[in-house]
């Protein structure tokens, strides 16, 4: 039996997640029994699961890895791709924030409350955000302030405000600050005009000042006396909801948004490329697809429209934003757009570097689409072809890769202002080098260009470094 405790699951004494023979289980500890029973008895669990706000689970009689603590063992529905807030676009983080507040409001109506508000408790399932931590609830204790208020502001409000009012790329600070953005930092980075916006003034700027002033005060010692009413707390939640709702970010019109229109492809080449990719997917029937450098997901949809779980990674926050909006408006269930810089992909982070998995640990995918990106990696980022072949062999079994030769206008653009030090960058060398890791199954030349599209199959097991 292959069993391990999930490394991110150690903070909350209510229980933990473990993996056994590839399946995830959640242990509910005896110390949390009353709260867990209340979650079910109050009808909150059913209410949230019916509306797809909380991950459904079933209770099992699986053996516990910690029998002295166990109350129940749950088997939650599996999440097809785990993603993290620093990989989400603005609207994904905003939707996760709205979901969290929606859940808190419903919980309060049914006598419970969220005891934590980590953005890492939210995942995207079938195109929508969903809470995956079944043990996040506690009985609502009228009179007390909300324990998760600080965490909500750090994980959601502060990064969204920075993305909206300073720069959308500041979401990447979440990689550094694993428990959300420190509010004093957010307060310093936000433009002065945000002090004139009452919700941001209160929940970020004054909040940061209060944290600083009362850093050493003990909450418990200070207690006695007046209570915080339920209406007051609902008022707070509603104010946070309005604050989140008012935050907006939209891609600028001069970004990549019109990439497909202005791109060097003729419509004939684009249709041929699309048809070939469809053919490759049909013939190999991959169980999962990662489209690396997906832009707004035009080619990713060839896979996701066939109900294949597909992740569309792109470096550009605007492309990911547009892709996500399209997924949301069409109700697409099999496509997940994520932000990823292939030259510096999401690393392993957190305690022991094990809490948040690197992109490699979340793979390999059955198939990778690497369309019109090799010149960016090999020329802009100077990666030798052999390293690229190794990189892709770590990520997938099937590789659909497009070779963009040096004389292609898109590749020539990258060489316009620099010395050509890329003697090996030619289709013959590319094929020779990739053949060391992959078997080339198909090669097709795209019309009106010298670009080639390959279908390759990895030879041997995934390569590890």
């Amino acid at each position: 039996m292959n069993e391990e405790r999930v490394a991110a699951s150690f903070r909350d004494p209510s229980g933990f997640v473990f993996r056994r023979d590839g399946e995830h289980f959640r242990q509910v500890n005896r110390s949390y029994a009353d709260e867990y029973d209340l979650l079910l008895r109050s009808g909150l669990y059913e209410n949230l699961v019916n509306d797809k706000l909380l991950i459904p689970h079933r209770e099992t009689d699986a053996e516990s890895p910690e029998p002295s603590l166990v109350y129940k063992i749950l088997r939650p529905e599996a999440i097809s791709t785990i993603s993290y807030p620093y990989e989400w676009c603005f609207s994904q983080l905003k939707d996760a924030a709205r979901l969290t507040l929606r859940i808190q409001k419903r919980a309060m109506k049914m006598g419970m409350s969220l005891k934590d508000c980590s953005a890492y408790n939210i995942q995207f399932q079938e195109g929508r955000p969903i809470l995956i931590d079944t043990l996040s609830f506690e009985s609502f204790d009228e009179g007390a302030p909300w324990v998760a208020y600080r965490q909500f502001c750090q994980h959601f409000l502060a990064p969204l405000a920075l993305m909206a009012y300073a720069d959308v790329r500041l979401s990447q600070l979440l990689k550094v600050f694993i428990d959300g953005l420190p509010l004093d930092l957010a307060s310093r980075l936000l433009p002065w005009k945000t002090r004139a916006l009452i919700p941001l003034l209160v929940h970020i700027h004054l909040h940061a000042a209060a944290q600083k002033r009362y850093a050493d005060a003990k909450v418990a010692e200070a207690g006695r006396g007046r209570r915080m009413t339920k209406t007051a707390l609902l008022g707070l939640i509603d104010d946070l909801r309005r604050a989140i709702q008012k935050l907006e970010w939209s891609p600028s019109s001069i970004g990549w948004a019109d990439y497909y229109d202005t791109h060097a492809y003729t419509s004939d080449a684009l249709n041929t490329k699309k048809a070939l990719i469809a053919e490759f997917i049909e013939s190999t029937r991959p169980k999962s697809v990662w489209d690396l450098g997906a832009n707004t997901g035009f080619f990713s949809r060839i896979a996701s429209d066939r109900d294949i779980p597909t992740v569309a990674f792109d470096l550009d926050p605007a492309a990911v934003e547009l892709n996500y909006r399209e997924c949301r408006s069409k109700g697409e269930r099999h496509l997940l757009p994520l932000l990823l810089d292939l030259t510096n992909p999401s690393p392993s982070l957190g305690w022991n570097n094990e809490e948040r998995s690197s992109i490699f640990e979340r793979g390999p995918a059955d198939m990778v689409l690497a369309l019109a990106i090799i010149h960016h990696l090999a020329i802009s980022n100077n990666v030798p072809l052999a390293d690229l072949a190794t990189f892709f062999s770590r990520l997938c079994h099937w590789l659909v890769i497009e070779f963009v030769p040096k004389d292609d206008p898109q590749a020539a653009r990258l060489l316009a202002n620099r010395e050509d030090i890329f003697g090996e960058y030619a289709p013959e060398t590319f094929e020779e080098v990739f053949a060391r890791r992959f078997t080339i199954r198909r090669v097709e030349t795209l019309p009106s260009s010298a670009r080639r599209l390959y279908l390759m199959e990895r030879s041997g097991p995934p390569h590890s470094i």
Binding site: R11, D12, P13, S14, R98, R102, K105, R106, K115, D116, D141, G143, A144, P145, W146, V147, A148, Y149, R150, Q151, C153, V202, L206, H207, A209, A210, Q211, K212, R213, Y214, A215, D216, A217, K218, V219, A220, E221, A222, G223, R224, G225, R226, R227, M228, T229, T231, A232, L233, L234, G235, L236, D238, D239, R241
Partner: protein, 78 residues
């Protein structure tokens, strides 16, 4: 005591802070003293605002119903 020293630096707030926060709140995550205090200071006002907004929404939907003869459908969560 550290708390009194710090609270005294902000006299108008002192009374509220020492009298408002409840004693029996121990969470597995540190909720943050400043985060607690701020909620207690602003929540009464925000609660009042919410009540006003709900009444206003009811008035609006009543008027709308009178004019259109149809029921409003409001999302209870949002």
């Amino acid at each position: 005591m550290v708390l009194i020293e710090t609270a005294e630096q902000l006299l108008p707030v002192h009374h509220l802070f020492t009298s408002v926060v409840r004693a029996n709140v121990l969470a597995y995550l540190d909720p943050g003293s400043g985060s607690y205090l701020l909620q207690l200071l602003v929540a009464a006002a925000l609660g009042g605002l919410l009540v006003l907004r709900l009444y206003w929404a009811k008035v609006k939907s009543f008027v709308r119903r009178l004019l259109s003869g149809k029921d409003d459908e409001l999302d209870a969560d949002e």
